[in-house]
Amino acid sequence: MNQALLVAFWRQRLASPVRVTILALAVLGPALLAGNVRGIGLAPLGDAYPLALLFAVGMIGQDVSSGVLQLVLARPVTRAEYVIHRWLGAAIAASAASLVQIGLTWAMMAAHGDSPGAATIGGFAAMRELQIFGVTATMALFSSLMNGVADLALYAMVFLSGGVLGTIGQLRHSQVLIRAGEEIVALVSPKVDVAAFASAAPPWQALAMWGSNLTLCLVLAIVVMNRKELSYAAG
């Protein structure tokens, strides 16, 4: 583990006042709503993609377009190490934000005597962790393909195309199109029902799909980065 790469990434992300402001709003807004309105449970917290995207957008592309990557790779760091540390940095930061949000919500709900059980909170937190690590891996791939923050546009396009394909499948009653839509959506918004592992039918397929998408995205991101020509002369 290269701590210098992680710390550099977190510093870079937290140096943007706009990003920090959006992060604070994204963490505190839903937490205050869920913690103070009785009976709505954890629903306002929703999925963890916004938090993951806040840290992950432009994680590699911004370094490529700003020319920082050449300086990083002048040090004894392989491109694979660089990609994996960018992914880990984004995932760990978003995980921390997610856990802070859940902790705050739980504390406020407990203060009103309305908190869900530890198992519910644990399952919810674990589900969001899997989302975060999955989405950040997908964004590592998209960011290796697109310069700057254009990976966000690619993410939105893929997300929409998955939804459109699924809807067409529903309208045409086509199992193939529905399945294709599900596969695409699972890439950009992975969802593993962690609590279901305690049931008689654990969702092994969803877990395998999540792990497979995550590792494939990282491998592909490394391959894309290995093929990139980064010398100043290439520009």
Partner: protein, 174 residues
């Protein structure tokens, strides 16, 4: 092109462990997809589905919200929801306790048209995808619609929270 061996100063080495892991997980994904297909319904219904007219009358009489389940036989997520939620004793008991459940199975693909009550309710609630759950409280102006199967935990939570919210608004006289 720089050398690939990191010991010689290259930056393009591929992490073998990650590649092996990705390949293993891809195999696991295909295998689980093959062996873990959404099962067909067990045949024993734990949810007490009511016919449309009887369900609506029961809902009006008792003040319990109606839970319409719009599904189709060809729909994979519907079978998964049946297996994970409606065949689960605890979830089924919760549904029977909090709702008057009514099932509406689409027959458009199999028979070219739907029974009149199914067609009318599909049109009324603008059903475009399966599964779709529609929760209607007696006297409420707008229904709660859950489109698609969000997973067992999320669905059960949503059903419990919606029932609690409707009960609360009934108590407040809205």
């Amino acid at each position: 092109m720089p050398p690939d061996d990191p010991s010689r100063g290259g930056t393009r080495a591929l992490p073998r462990l990650l590649i092996v892991l990705a390949a293993a997980l891809l195999v696991a994904r295909v295998a689980t997809g093959f062996f873990e297909r959404p099962p067909v319904a067990s045949g024993v219904e734990r949810v007490t589905w009511e016919p449309v007219a009887a369900g609506e009358a029961k809902s009006q009489a008792t003040g319990t919200p109606l839970l319409y389940e719009f599904s189709a036989e060809w729909c994979g997520p519907c079978r998964l929801m049946q297996h994970e939620v409606f065949d689960d004793a605890e979830a089924a008991a919760m549904i029977n306790r909090l709702y008057v459940p009514v099932r509406l199975v689409d027959r458009q693909r199999e028979e070219g048209r739907n029974p009149p009550d199914v067609a009318a309710l599909q049109a009324r609630y603008r059903i475009e995808a399966f599964p779709t759950l529609v929760i209607v409280a007696p006297g409420a102006s707008s229904p709660t619609v859950i489109e698609g199967y969000p997973g067992k935990t999320a669905l059960v939570r949503q059903l419990e929270e919606t029932a609690a919210r409707l009960k609360l608004s009934r108590g407040l006289g809205h």
